[in-house]
């Protein structure tokens, strides 16, 4: 485990990704400090471009985009992360149990996985929303989580099945470890890279799904989130009017989260597959190899 942590720090990509995510989270936490007051308050003229006073400009309704961005980060990030974790947890547990026990347990869980896999969650959410009027963040979180776990479950299941056959698992059983310990203490740590990838992918997915719903108008228009920002911007024809900042800012926020998470994701890949590791030794090797190749070509 320690090797994994120190490896993490040595990967510049991961550190960069982590910095991005932490900055955004910090920004969200410090919203009252960075943008005191009510983000929905009308503070300026309509669709003002970025100025010193309003760093990201204003919306059609005269609201400060920066303030909205900073406050909107809270629900967007919180729901996104929580949902992503929920998706991963569900998928991992189902995959572990199915892969470890096999047989009827596996067959049953496989059936459930396939059934849920077929459910299209965005249309389902749209359907629900059209009945309920609006869908609050908790409901969104629940439905996205409950319909998106199969992908992770499949991955986890195959990996668990492969590990199940490894001698150290058989040895653990022989030595007397109970099933639950074998699953959660012996096998699970070996799946960390996979789970890491799962978490990152799920969070990105959850954030995008949530934003999509809100953009389509199914979110709560009274709440300030990145998704409702986009919705309002779209409704006020921001692009046509030339108020690019209205759309660009929330979109950039989402893109940054995606970027940060993707950078962190590379590292899990590298921890899992040592051959991808790009430490200083590998860079040196690549550089020397390139140099040598050029020398040989030149000598022809």
């Amino acid at each position: 485990m320690n090797a994994g942590v120190s490896l993490f720090w040595r990967q510049k990509k991961a550190v960069a990704g982590l910095v991005i995510i932490l900055t955004l989270c910090l920004m969200a936490l410090l919203a009252p400090v960075l943008a005191p007051g009510d983000p929905s308050e009308r503070v300026g003229r309509s669709h003002q471009p970025p100025t010193v006073e309003h760093v990201f400009g204003t919306t059609k309704m005269g609201r400060d985009v920066f303030s909205q961005f900073v406050w909107g980060a809270r629900p967007s990030l919180a729901v996104g992360f929580a949902t992503g974790l929920a998706i991963t947890a569900l998928g991992t547990i189902v995959g572990l149990v199915a892969g470890y026990f096999g047989g009827r347990t596996d067959a049953t869980l496989d059936l459930a996985t396939n059934a849920v896999l077929v459910i299209p969650n965005i249309p389902l959410l749209i359907l629900l929303a059209s009945f309920a009027g609006t869908v609050g963040p908790m409901a969104i979180m629940a439905i996205i989580a409950l319909t998106s776990w199969p992908w992770g479950a499949r991955m986890t299941r195959s990996q668990t099945m492969a590990l199940r056959q490894r001698e150290f698992v058989v040895a653990a059983r022989m030595v007397g470890e109970p099933h639950w310990r074998v699953i959660f203490v012996e096998i699970l740590p070996n799946l960390v890279p996979l789970i890491g990838i799962n978490v990152v992918g799920s969070i990105i997915y959850a954030i995008v799904a949530q934003t999509t719903l809100e953009y389509l108008g199914f979110g709560d228009p009274l709440r300030v989130t990145w998704g409702t920002m986009l919705y309002n911007a779209q409704n006020s024809s921001a692009i046509i009017v030339g108020a690019w900042w209205d759309i660009a800012v929330p979109a950039a926020g989402i893109a940054l989260v995606g970027l940060g998470l993707a950078l962190i994701n590379f590292t899990f890949d590298e921890i899992a597959n040592p051959q991808l590791r790009s430490g200083p030794a590998l860079s040196r090797w690549l550089r020397l190899t390139r140099l040598r190749r050029r020398e040989l070509e030149a000598a022809r």
Partner: protein, 271 residues
């Protein structure tokens, strides 16, 4: 024209670390003569496999050839441009590694794999490749009608023989074998190696045979080199190495191998 087909001179191979390097192969020099079976023995980690990969410049990171020369018929392979080296690999130097039997494409029939290799290296047509494959199968004693089977239909030992056959189809001058029989049973191992000896006698290629099993090497090779921690500690005729080893480590290596009681060893197949 010298008798030496492959000459390794003062080879140094380093493993690049984040801070510095570890010398895995330290100033090693030896030669493999034409028509000779040369064995490189030593424990795991002594650097023998590193040398095998370095010869055809297939070293994977972090292995880095830091110095020395590797001469094939007088030409330094380390200074050859990549394009020329492509012609040397497989055409002049064949390679059979430990897990080679698992490197056959499970989705292709054996005959197609012969064609694949021959087409790439000699531009052979399908019928030509097939004829050659049949010839090789006859040489390694596998029924020709099995050319249309898939790799999984053969046992591990037979797959290894197929790999050797594909290798020989290109008529290389030297074959490097790195622990080719280590994962196989002792009877299968003997079958493969007895065959290798015959093939070598008939076709005249040289073999660089790498293994940790010194007894096996003594049965098979004409000359043996012993490696310890990256250095070549002793090189000589098999007779000399087995009867009168000069280096302490060689003696220690001989003594450490489990053997049957000598009264038993002369039993077995009626010769």
């Amino acid at each position: 024209m010298s008798d030496a087909l492959l000459e390794i001179r003062n080879l140094n191979v380093d493993y690049l670390l984040d801070d510095g390097a570890f010398r895995a192969v330290n100033d090693v020099s030896f030669e493999v003569r034409r028509g000779e079976l040369f064995g490189l023995a030593g424990e795991s980690g002594c650097g023998k496999s590193t040398i095998a990969y370095a010869i055809t410049r297939l070293s994977k990171p972090p292995a880095w050839v830091a110095g020395g020369e590797i001469l094939l018929d007088g030409q330094n392979l380390l200074k050859m441009p990549e394009a020329s080296l492509q012609n040397v690999r497989w055409r002049r130097i064949g390679m059979v590694f430990q897990s080679a039997m698992n490197s056959l494409n499970p989705l292709m029939r054996v005959e197609a794999q012969f064609f694949d290799v021959l087409r790439k290296h000699t531009g052979a047509t399908r019928p030509q490749a097939r004829a050659r494959a049949e010839e090789m199968f006859r040489l390694v004693g596998i029924p020709i009608n099995r050319l249309d089977d898939y790799p999984h239909q053969f046992s591990g030992g037979m797959r290894q023989r197929i790999v050797i056959a594909i290798c020989l189809a290109l008529k290389p001058e030297l074959i490097i074998m790195d622990e080719p029989t280590t994962a196989l049973d002792v009877v299968v191992q003997r079958e493969i190696l007895e065959q290798l000896v015959d093939l070598q006698r008939n076709l005249g290629f040289s073999v660089l045979f790498i293994t940790h099993d010194l007894h096996l090497m003594a049965q098979l090779c004409h000359r043996i080199g012993v490696m310890l921690k990256g250095q070549l500690v002793e090189v000589g005729d098999t007779q000399q190495i087995s009867r009168a080893p000069e280096h302490d480590y060689t003696r220690k290596l001989w003594g450490a191998i489990p053997q049957l009681p000598s009264s038993v060893r002369s039993l077995g197949v009626v010769e």
